[in-house]
């Protein structure tokens, strides 16, 4: 099965300690190297951040005097070109931000005519935004508060230690 799968050029840009690196993909900046840690900020493509260290799949960065951790994906160069579409990034081509966002979300004319209506898609997207909300009472806040105890109570020791020095 493997023979037909090509090697893709996914290269992790070197992230040496003390270097300033340019962010290639959006990422949440987390207080600890854990996905459920409190989000302190976020970084976007094109931003320069200071790299303080690396452990496992996490890179410690400093941005505007604040320290935090981002997943390695923030610095992965995959040769995907300059178009990084999405609502959080202005398009590099001559088009409105809405057009670029719709492209990324698949809101094509064809989709509107034959498939799920735009209203339905937008309603669904609002739900995803809700699941991603960093609201004080949202899922992120709940996980940040509960995950340590969840892992400890379940004696998931290996998972609990992940990311710790």
């Amino acid at each position: 099965m493997r023979s037909w799968i090509p090697l893709t050029a996914v290269l992790l840009a070197a992230a040496a300690k003390g270097d300033t690196r340019r962010v290639l993909n959006h990422a949440k900046v987390l207080a600890e190297p854990k996905y459920w840690a409190k989000s302190v900020s976020s970084v976007d493509r094109g931003q320069d951040v200071k790299v303080l260290g690396e452990k496992g799949g996490w890179i410690q960065v400093e941005l505007n005097g604040r320290k935090g951790f981002v997943p390695q994906s923030a610095f992965v160069d995959d040769a995907a070109g300059d178009l990084h579409f999405g609502a959080e990034q202005p398009p590099t081509q001559t088009a409105s931000a809405a057009q670029a966002a719709n492209a990324s979300r698949g809101f094509s004319k064809e989709a509107n005519a034959q498939d799920v209506s735009k209203d339905h898609l937008e309603a669904a997207d609002a739900w995803i935004a809700k699941y991603e909300s960093a609201d004080a009472h949202g899922l992120d806040a709940t996980l940040a508060a509960q995950m340590p105890r969840f892992l400890a109570d379940g004696r998931l020791d290996a998972a609990a230690k992940e990311g710790t020095p």
Partner: protein, 344 residues
């Protein structure tokens, strides 16, 4: 508060067809081009350079995956069948899912130091920059979908068929493995590479060697291309599946993630053994996955061969207690007066 009434199972094997039909979407629209899975099986003529033209960055993957998740979620939203993210069941699902994700991270670290050598032709996808989301929907048909970008959508019928937290973790680890191993992204790349219409569009623009076509395409073409790819991904996820090879790989990696996180290494296998004779599960997965018993046997062999520990965790009973509370007990299910999850 009572246990959800989710076992009034339909005889329809295709959840997506059922739910999409309910909001008036033509099922035929899902069949207007070959599915990614079919193309995978017949993949010929796509060189590594050809495929590279359709490579996605982590951001591309996130937004593409979000579009797919939008489509999959839309029928549930219109019927108010999505659990609130702060509902106890959704929070619990995300806690178990996050533990499985840690297993994926640990597995990457372990393989980096040659715990067992990987010989994968395709490297793992980068861990999603925004993390993983496990979205719980109400559906009488068992189903779970690992979507590029870190989105996992799970039906509560599937969850309730699990016998323990470790088995639920197994289901989620399998979906995480689909995402981390890039099965969706690879399927899209191959589908685009094989599509003659896409080829015509791509050949009309100049693409630098080693770069993807996305930046070179006019925006209207890009919109059509991604819209179609997103739609076809739904067909792949719900009708044809990622293919037997990718399902086996997701089982194998999911099993390693479980062991790495401290869950029972046999979590996926035990779930499959539990549902292998269940007509609802078989009906829902027969077209998209190899038979459950066959998959379980492969995993059991793997756990022995790779000496993955613990096969069964001594802590499983303690975890199962909270699993029972979250999905079968008296504190987590929606109120009796409102058995359906609220949508806002």
């Amino acid at each position: 508060v009572k246990r959800l009434h989710l076992f009034a199972l339909t005889t329809v094997g295709c959840m997506a067809c059922t739910t999409l039909d309910k909001i008036g979407i033509k099922s035929d629209a899902l069949h207007d081009s070959p599915t990614a899975s079919a193309l995978l099986k017949a993949a010929r003529g796509c060189s590594a350079d050809d495929l590279k033209k359709f490579e996605m960055s982590a951001d591309n993957e996130y937004w593409f995956g979000r579009s797919v998740a939008d489509r999959l979620l839309a029928p549930y939203v219109s019927q108010k069948h999505v659990y609130e993210p702060d509902s106890p069941a959704a929070v619990y699902l995300n806690e178990v899912g996050q533990a499985a994700v840690v297993g994926a991270l640990l597995d990457r670290e372990a393989t980096a130091t040659s715990r067992y050598a990987r010989k994968d032709a395709v490297p793992d996808r980068p861990m999603p920059g925004r993390g993983y989301r496990f979205i719980l929907v109400q559906d009488a048909t068992p189903g779970a979908w690992g979507i590029p970008g870190g989105f996992v959508i799970v039906t509560d019928a599937l969850v309730q068929k699990a016998g323990s937290e470790d088995q639920l973790a197994g289901v989620l680890a399998h979906e995480v493995a689909h995402i981390q191993r890039g099965h969706g992204v690879e399927a899209v790349k191959r589908a685009m590479c094989q599509d003659k219409n896409v080829g015509a569009v791509v050949s009309s623009v100049s693409v630098d060697v080693g770069k993807s076509v996305y930046a070179a395409l006019p925006l209207d073409k890009l919109v059509d291309l991604l819209g179609k790819a997103s739609k076809n991904m739904i067909s792949t996820l719900t009708e044809s599946g990622y293919g037997a090879d990718y399902e086996d790989e997701a089982d194998a990696y999911g099993t390693r993630y479980l062991a790495a996180s401290g869950y029972s290494a046999l979590g996926i296998a035990d779930y499959l053994r539990r549902v292998q004779a269940d007509p609802a599960f078989t009906s829902a997965t027969s077209k998209t996955h190899p038979p459950a018993a066959e998959r379980a046997a492969k995993i059991e062999k793997q756990v022995t061969a790779e000496r993955l520990t613990p096969p069964h965790s001594p802590n499983e009973p303690a975890r199962s207690k909270r699993f029972t509370v979250a999905f079968g007990g008296k504190t987590a299910a929606p109120a009796a007066a409102d058995a359906r999850p609220r949508t806002n």
